[in-house]
């Protein structure tokens, strides 16, 4: 920077001001500095800049399972807008208990980020307090974190519409495949969707049968396993609501391999759902990442930002994996 200043015949302060596009620099000087910087192919050291200014220009993104489709979409969406504004994205994948403990034990985000994006994770109170202690704005995607901004869908309403779709088709014995509620890695959406399932059945005057609610690890294997277990019941369900499309895929697989017929509805509208003709609840995941990043940007720039809440719409996408209860029952029964 000294070199550029010398070449342009100004002080380093002026170079700094010019390069950051601050107003109080005359056009003439500006040109001279820019030219000098270009000829030396100089770029400011982001690190020194951060030390001096106190702003890190970095956003920490915390996800439980970076490799899953949903989280990949969110991260990609957020990355696209953060990058566009010159912000760095620091990814923390804390899906297992060890990583999580390490994360909250040493809180590596301290003094390192200007904002935090939390994706579909529920924290304990002390953990939330730790996060707050960072003193930076927080935005959550997929669920609420007290005191933080939030971009999400109405999980309860969306799941309810799924169940009502099945009820509308005449199903009365409806199962659910949900993820195992690991006490340490509790995922809030799992809880809400299961609650919607229970409440909607109850509201419809149907009994709630515990044996119809499967708790399995997330993923294809989990879904397959769950459906196989449901099929062995003395009175198996005629329809099943899966907490996510990936679980639904597994369920479909089990059905195909066993030759049985059960309506299946998923949740997410994963890119492969159309291929598998899975009826599902669509949410726009990538876009939620985009919007969350936008909110973060606002939180970082506006001085008196207060947490916003953005509710994204969902749609029921009807495909061939659900059908009226009578049809197949009659033909196979």
């Amino acid at each position: 920077m000294e070199d550029v200043a010398r070449l342009a015949g100004v002080s380093s302060a002026t170079v700094s001001r010019t390069l950051r596009g601050l107003p109080n620099v005359s056009d003439e000087t500006r040109d001279r500095v820019l030219q000098a910087a270009a000829s030396l192919s100089y770029v400011v050291s982001p690190i020194a800049s951060r030390l001096a200014s106190g702003r890190t220009h970095t956003v920490g993104v915390i996800v439980p399972y970076a490799a899953r489709w949903f989280f990949g979409q969110i991260v990609a969406g957020a990355e696209s807008v953060l990058r566009e504004h010159g912000l760095d994205l620091l990814l923390y994948n804390i899906g297992d208990v060890a990583a999580r403990q390490r994360f909250f034990g040493q809180l590596p985000l301290r003094r390192r980020v200007d904002a935090v994006l939390v994706v579909a994770m529920q924290f304990t109170d002390p953990e939330t307090a730790d996060l707050r202690s960072l003193g930076v704005p927080i935005v959550a995607v997929g669920h609420d974190v007290p005191g933080a901004g939030c971009v999400r869908i109405d999980d309860v309403a969306a799941a309810t519409s799924a169940i009502q779709h099945l009820l509308g088709l005449g199903h009365r014995r409806i199962g659910m495949i949900s993820t195992y509620a690991d006490q340490a890695m509790f995922l809030p959406v799992a809880h809400e969707r299961r609650r919607a399932y229970l409440d909607t059945l109850t509201a419809a005057g149907l009994p709630v049968c515990d044996e119809l609610v499967m708790s399995v690890p997330h993923g294809l294997d989990g879904g397959e396993q769950a459906m196989r277990r449901l099929l062995t019941l003395p009175d198996p369900p005629t329809a099943v609501f899966a907490e996510s499309d990936e679980l639904a895929f597994g369920a479909l697989s089990a059905l195909r391999r066993t030759g049985r017929h059960v309506s299946v509805i998923g949740f997410d509208d994963h890119e492969l759902s159309a291929l598998l003709d899975l009826t599902t609840v669509r949410q726009r995941v990538f876009e939620q990442g985009v919007l969350a990043a936008g909110m973060l940007r606002r939180a970082m720039t506006v001085s008196d930002w207060t947490p916003e809440e953005l509710l994204m719409p969902t749609t029921l996408v009807l495909r061939a994996s659900t059908w009226p209860v009578a049809v197949r029952t009659a033909s196979t029964g």
Copy 2:
């Protein structure tokens, strides 16, 4: 840090040495410092530390399409080992021409990372030179970058084995679905797999028919489109090799919707391939991310590191999407 030093009754230099685990500190002093730091819940500012030491403890990861399964796996794999060693992962998604130009125009990695991980991207010579000019070690996953370390599979051999599997089943008219070779976003694996296809057919004494080689955008839609076009040929193929499982999924979809029967073999062993009974070439993607990150670590710590090359094995996974040419041809006439 001053505060800690005062509380422990030592100088800030000693605090610094203690906190970084340097040797020349007496046990007694060490304890005192650690205790003081703990009681003040003090952590060093990574930014100041970086400025002073010149090391960024950060790895830049460059991917073309962060949201795709393959890249998600690689990133997750790399993240897991980098995080474990306290290194940050800076993600750059430069899948479109604009992002790419911006990236190489301002080279935001300059002065910002200690190493770079490039995932399955081919660069022009000037771009490679730009990357080199960062002066940090580079490791590539999925392909070679001159002068860089490399973790990959033998794409040609793997693709050849796929074609030979089809040949062994008696197929003589074999199509290929590959991605459109956008001049700006050229993906090296696409080229290699296509080459293997052509060479293997030629070596088997078969003619190469241009109309059997489809070039489409990556993804399900691309695959579906390609298969539909292949099916409209006067003499359609009896088997098709898809450059990736996602393309193969699209192809399967087209087949299902049209009720036609064509053997399909994919590449990757995507997690959904088992579900769709797709015969494919398996590579361990997550693990490649892990290994690449390990190599980066070595490159950053060993002073005289020279690029290593790691070749990962692949396996042909036989499932129900490929069958001997005679069977279905006879039954469907």
